[in-house]
Symmetry: C2
Subunit: 252 residues, 2 copies
């Protein structure tokens, strides 16, 4: 059994309930968006227009919960550790499986996650286990129909040397958010330091560290409130879906 299969089986059995960070290093992890067919076209166009935030790696046929391309032995209804759910744009309590929520008109979208390049950063000596926040910004995305909200970013604090190394390395993962979209002053992209979406409050920047910003897979979640689909399901932040695909297969 491969490492992704082993971990997905553990997740399915309830043996892993936390973040997917650090699990199955070297395999592509995906952010998840599940929408009714009626919203799928606009969301497909949204992904196409905002590839840095939403690098779409697979789109399913309506009603199909199996990622035929990226993990044909998996079931998206059980193989993510924690799911975020919205009804009419209102966030519901997180759940640990969505079998009961599945419908024949639901379409699965799998979007490359920045967690995929964590292993490469770790190997290069760039720390990935601290100084990381998910932040709203005022940088607009390209709208598509009902989907239109500003970019969400992952901010990391790095030394200048690590910032350069991280930019170089992540640029080789264009299907997992790729290179940074901004370096330096958070005000340059209107990053909201006061209200991180994930990762705890942002303390004062220590001397010698530089903020570096990547487009984040939480971006489409931010659109849910505005688009108000009757049902939208996503991975809970940092609880990504682990695919069978080696990260190298998508690297440049």
């Amino acid at each position: 059994m491969t490492e992704p299969e082993r971990i997905r089986r553990l997740i399915r059995a309830g043996g892993i309930t936390g973040t997917s960070r650090g699990l199955a290093p070297g395999y592509v992890q995906c952010n998840v968006v599940i929408l009714p067919r009626d919203f799928a076209y606009e969301f497909l166009a949204y992904c196409q227009r905002n590839e840095r935030a939403c690098p779409l790696l697979e789109v399913g046929d309506p009603g199909d919960p199996v990622p035929r391309l990226l993990a044909p032995g998996a079931d998206i209804r059980t193989d993510v550790a924690r799911y975020a759910v919205w009804r009419d744009g209102v966030r519901q309590p997180d759940v640990t499986e969505i079998t009961g929520l599945w419908r024949e008109d639901l379409v699965l979208f799998l979007i490359g996650s920045g967690i995929t390049f964590d292993a490469a950063l770790d190997r290069a000596g760039v720390p990935t286990d601290r100084h990381r926040w998910v932040l709203a910004t005022d940088r607009p995305t390209a709208p598509a129909g009902r989907f239109a909200k500003p970019l969400v970013v992952t901010m990391r604090w790095l030394t200048p040397e690590h910032a350069i190394r991280a930019a170089t390395i992540t640029a080789r993962f264009p299907r997992n958010h790729g290179a940074p979209i901004h370096i330096g002053d958070p005000a340059g992209i209107g990053a909201d330091l006061a209200n991180p979406l994930f990762g705890g409050p942002v303390p004062p920047l220590p001397d010698g560290l530089l903020p570096v910003f990547w487009a984040c897979g939480v971006t489409p979640q931010a659109t849910a409130e505005a688009a108000r689909p009757p049902l939208m399901i996503a991975h809970a932040p940092a609880h990504s879906f682990i695919t069978d695909l080696p990260a190298e297969a998508l690297m440049v």
Copy 2:
């Protein structure tokens, strides 16, 4: 006026009616697909699933003939030198503008073209002006709804040295078909040498040359006959749309 603007203006005025090969070197050229909204979702999914053949660079809003992202000053109804038209899957005579065919439900898709990397091949001494054919194959594409036909390829005959150089160079253009999908025996992908879609009959292979195959932007045209949309409009082969985007902007 930039070179793409100058050439599009000439095309619009009827001053250029032939191939776009060799025009505005260094700028991204795009294959064109225009479909009714009712077929757009399936075609978007088809592009996502077949990125080597259909690297989608822009999708318009229904009814909008302006490529807002790639050439905001252009009009897709007049700025391609020759258009192919299908009605209910049946090829109609080519036309030189489509203003009279335009409808409020038509969606514009712009797909990266291999013509984009011709200039880079030429600069590297790889000949692009001969030994080139567009061929049907038996290699299946990933279907999406009504869109499902085997891959169409561009075959070039190159010396081994040029083949290696061409593979290396074109790999840097992943949004314009990228690296070859096959090298060597045409039977390996079921390439139909007897009936080229474009480029004249295939003579016997001269000693010392190697067939090299790239996914081709004519692939979606082959799906039109099967999908049978009431109306489909595309560029005529080798008459691509010239964008304002420098090729470097999409290179890796």
